[in-house]
Symmetry: C2
Subunit: 263 residues, 2 copies
């Protein structure tokens, strides 16, 4: 299970300012901190970048890759920004992502073929709604895979995001459990060892006490890991959650156990 | 998922002394502390009680039930001690437990019928060996269930323990993952909603740093919970693990989530 830092987000004032002024330093400092904290990939959550998207995403990818070899996830709904990121990319970039929503399917999915890169597909219906249970998620996954195949991309490039919803939703805990089952069953349903990714922070979106949010993260992450999740998007500065994640990796990877790996 | 305290063990000097002198106070103090810490049942790990087993187990059950309404698990290989515990029991007692080992199958299993009580069955082979993978565990489970049925006991009284092994064993991490799958598949294999129990502390048996042991507990417990485990035997004074356990219960129980339940 690969740990992807979700800490680089335009919603943070200093990041917004750095992008606006094309100042690489705050971006690079953050990325180095993420890597030191255990990040194995960096999600670039730039938002839609409505003004000058290509220039800004290229700046972000170059800034990060000047100080880090980690894969970057191009996390925006703007196809121009994604393509600029892919052109700027000198290491590994992953498109994050597409869905059955026509605008994303038609404008973003083809970029994965053009640049021969991994792409994340969200289990959302064509109108952008979150499926309400596992059966609906698997149905969407089959449709998503059809679109993916029609775009002529190799299976190995697909990563599916089952879309974790806030536990505060009226059916939040049930959805959390349905997602575990969907993650476990996706490879069998699609007929190959499809990779999966989940955004852990989504579970605790909204107002709530930090201690309770961290407990939810620490309890849900091992459930995702034992369901076979390939990548997890999380706040890499939540050190206890990251320690749990590392322990999950130890437990779910065939190996001879030694205490040193946990100390 | 019911939390069963594994803290009442004869290996602790004060408990050994209390049993020897039939002094209820240390036992009762411990049980009250366990209940305050979140215990929903108490495992009475008395060892074989080779000297005066009936008197000692009756004393233990009476001492505990004088101060607590929690179910007690009669955790000994001595059938005389178990029967004395069942006779002394005024609330709920669970036999812990039997296996395919002939001595246990023949002397302990019939007590569950005689006293119409729940009984835990260990997934161990007839010679007491731990199965090496899920397939062997499920095979043992079928044999165990046959013996259980032949004893004429209702399905609802069976609780299966898949036998967690130390992660330090050469195949310890693989066994941990095989057990998750066995717990998930047991109801389908046996054809009814059989309950399951696992001893979490077994995972970290042996020497090792406490911090790493707690991480392993906190990572493995949610995996067990999401596999459908019914009861977990754990050190109820490991508060962080207990908080994770409570969070798992919230996540795996259909309910409307509120933060208050975690604070």
């Amino acid at each position: 299970m690969l740990l992807v830092a979700d800490n680089l987000q335009i919603i943070y004032k200093n990041i917004e300012e750095a992008i606006k002024t094309l100042d690489p330093k705050p971006i690079q400092d953050l990325v180095k901190e993420c890597e030191a904290a255990g990040a194995e990939a960096i999600d670039i959550n730039s938002g839609p970048l409505s003004h000058d998207p290509a220039k800004k995403m290229a700046f972000l990818v170059e800034a990060i890759q000047a100080v880090s070899d980690l894969p970057v996830l191009l996390d925006t709904s703007n196809p121009k920004a994604i393509e600029a990121g892919l052109q700027a990319n000198k290491k590994q970039a992953i498109i994050n992502g597409f869905s059955l929503e026509p605008a994303k399917r038609d404008a973003i999915l083809p970029l994965a073929r053009k640049y021969e890169t991994d792409i994340i597909g969200y289990l959302l219906s064509a109108n952008g709604h979150v499926p309400s249970n596992e059966a609906e998620r698997l149905h969407v996954a089959i449709e998503l895979y059809k679109a993916f195949q029609q775009a002529g991309i190799d299976n190995q490039h697909l990563i599916i995001d089952p879309v974790v919803v806030p536990v505060m939703w009226h059916n939040g805990t049930e959805q959390a459990i349905e997602i575990l089952s969907a993650v476990r069953n996706l490879p069998e349903v699609l007929g190959f060892a499809v990779r999966t990714i989940a955004a852990l922070s989504n579970l605790t979106t909204g107002k709530g006490p930090l201690g309770a949010k961290l407990l939810l993260e620490k309890a849900y992450l091992p459930m995702l890991a034992s369901s076979g999740l390939s990548m997890v998007l999380l706040n890499i500065f939540h050190h206890e959650t990251v320690n749990i994640a590392k322990t999950c990796k130890l437990l779910t990877t065939p190996n001879i156990f030694t205490w040193e790996e946990l100390t």
